[in-house]
Amino acid sequence: MKRYIAKRLVISVITIWALATFSFFLLKTLPGNPFQTEQLLKPEIQEKMMSYYGLDKPYFEQYLTYMGNLLHGDMGYSFKYTNRSVWDIIMQTFPISADLGLRSLAIGYPVGLLLGTIAARRRGKKADYLCVLISVLGVSVPNFVIGSLLQWVFGVKTGLLPIAQWKGFSYSILPTITLSIATIASLTRTMRASMLEVENQDYMKTAKAKGLGEKEIVWRHQLRNAMIPIVTGLGPAVATTLMGSFIVEQLFSIPGIGKHFTESVQALDYTMVLGLTIFFGVFLVAANFIVDILYGIIDPRIRITD
């Protein structure tokens, strides 16, 4: 086990390094620079700014400087948010996105798994159709439509909940629901499919032949095996959800990290883009690693043996 962890760590570090390097040079190929904003700075001023930030040096030199700083834990300063460090901006906004993300997962996973289980156990009956309908709607209707609808019904029309912002528990209700719908929709489908696939397995017949009741069969035999493919998807799902949904955050004016992902690329804020990429990369790698370990716990056939 220890060797496995060590090996994974090394691979992870190499992955992140490759990610950072690739992103760095890819960014440089994009035409334009962070100072070409709609304010239309004069070209001499742009040039002055480029040299002030060292962006006129040869790419490889810039790369080495960046990597050197990175090893010291310095991600540099944002170009758009003058003098604010990339790490500070990430640390300010990420906890909020993560908070929202975790809440939506805390609702999305149980509900999604439950609906999927119901749909599978009551296959072909009304309950199944209802669950599948919910799932299809959740996937097809864009989340800004759902979010706007919720805002309108609960905020504008009835005034029961705040329309936007993130100032207290009541503010978190609508965005959490909006964000969790996508999770519920895809989980219902995946869980249903997985449960049905497990149902066709021979050991389910064995369980029934032992005279076990439905609850016992579902809980002890079906669920655990059906969860295996769900757990595989858990890593990327958690990572992406925690990284904030740009759309939901913008709709509800939540100061999360989501908007920075799109904004930094549009503004060519190099340091911000790189910082976010590396941050997300590390997160994703870590999430996948944890999932792989979890996998081994759930499915004994995949235990890591030294």
């Binding site: 072909g124 050991y203 017949k205 005279g211 655990r224 095996n225």
Partner: protein, 339 residues
């Protein structure tokens, strides 16, 4: 004394494409402490019959159209799921063909056996664990204290089948249904498993319903045999009667197709019954075997043959047994009677 009697059982599957009549009137009986072998080719309905007895096939799409299943005199066809759960594991138990897929891969084997015990016997969990270990020893697994903590995939095929048997026997069932229990195993292991089943049968006076398409297994294990074709039992009787005095052309065909290693000189084609079984969406009006039967008569196509009782135990359904039918010579290889 029959512990299980199946009378005219009809089971069909309601699918989108139509109704598949998988079982079209099957009757047989099982005696306490005796082994009944059900033989037939793939798709003849043997598994469906047996699984229907335990109501393991999900009710849509499977439906029992007609018939009765008498267990210890009570008709269980109409039993609710709850009532069936009381029977399963306790009175009936079943072992399946592929022990790898029939055991839950993510649960320790000990627990899988334990489950059965705890469900049907009132024992404390300590006592149940003790019994689990006993059962494991019984089926020939040494060091059960350690081995019960292992997962199925760490066992070989034969050992897994033993675990399945341990699991099936754990609550002392009165009937053990074995659906091709050795088909997936190699020959030596086959032998061991069959011996095990026989031993257990004697020890616990358990009835065994053995499904197989391997006549060798039948010869070794069976007290009585039922030959099925296209959803019907075409011939049934004691093992001796069916092997030495078969009366149905299909039985002749089956016995004929056993490779005779003794008389193999040079290259002869393996004898087989030409043709394929009929489509059970629209089974024929007459005898289902007529299309492949070298002795088919006009009557065979028109009407289904009635069951003729040649003795208390020997029953055949064939028009050839009608007094008006021509006398025919069975085309099978005469077997030497061995005592």
């Amino acid at each position: 004394m029959s512990i299980l009697e199946v009378k005219d059982l009809r089971v069909s599957f309601h699918t989108y494409a139509g109704k598949v009549q998988a079982v079209r009137g099957v009757s047989f009986s099982v005696d306490k402490g005796k082994t009944l072998a059900i033989v037939g080719e793939s798709g003849c309905g043997k598994s469906v019959t047996v699984q229907t007895i335990m109501k393991l096939t999900p009710t849509p799409p499977a439906f029992i159209e007609e018939g009765s299943i008498l267990y210890e005199g009570t008709d269980i066809v109409g039993y609710s799921e709850k009532q069936m759960q009381k029977l399963r594991g306790k009175e009936f138990s079943m072992i399946f063909q592929d022990p790898m897929t029939s055991l839950n891969p993510t649960m320790r084997v000990g627990r899988q056996i334990n489950e059965n015990i705890l469900k049907h016997m009132t024992l404390s969990s300590k006592e149940a664990t003790k019994r689990t270990m006993e059962m494991m020893r019984l089926v020939g697994i040494a060091n059960p204290e350690i081995n019960m903590l292992r997962y199925p995939h760490t066992y070989s095929g034969g050992m897994r089948q033993r675990i399945m048997i341990a699991m099936g026997m754990a609550a002392n069932p009165k009937i053990l249904f074995a659906d091709e229990p050795t088909t997936a195993l190699d020959v030596t292991t086959q032998s061991q498993i069959l011996d095990l089943i026989n031993d257990l049968k004697k020890q616990f006076q358990m009835a065994v319903v053995l499904i197989t398409h391997n006549l060798g297994v039948v010869a070794r294990m069976a007290d009585s045999v039922a030959v099925m074709y296209a959803g019907k039992v075409v011939e049934t009787g004691t093992a001796r009667e069916v092997f030495y005095e078969p009366k149905h052309p299909y039985t002749w065909g089956l016995l004929n197709s056993i490779p005779d290693t003794a008389n193999m000189n040079g290259n002869r084609e393996l004898p087989a019954i030409p043709g394929t079984p009929p489509d059970l969406f629209a089974p024929p009006k007459g005898c289902a075997f007529a299309a492949r039967c070298p002795y088919a008569m006009k009557a065979c196509i028109k009407a289904q043959p009635e069951e003729t009782c040649l003795s208390d135990t020997h029953k055949v359904s064939c028009h050839l047994l009608d007094p008006r039918a021509p006398k025919v010579e069975p085309y099978h290889v005469k077997r030497q009677k061995t005592e």
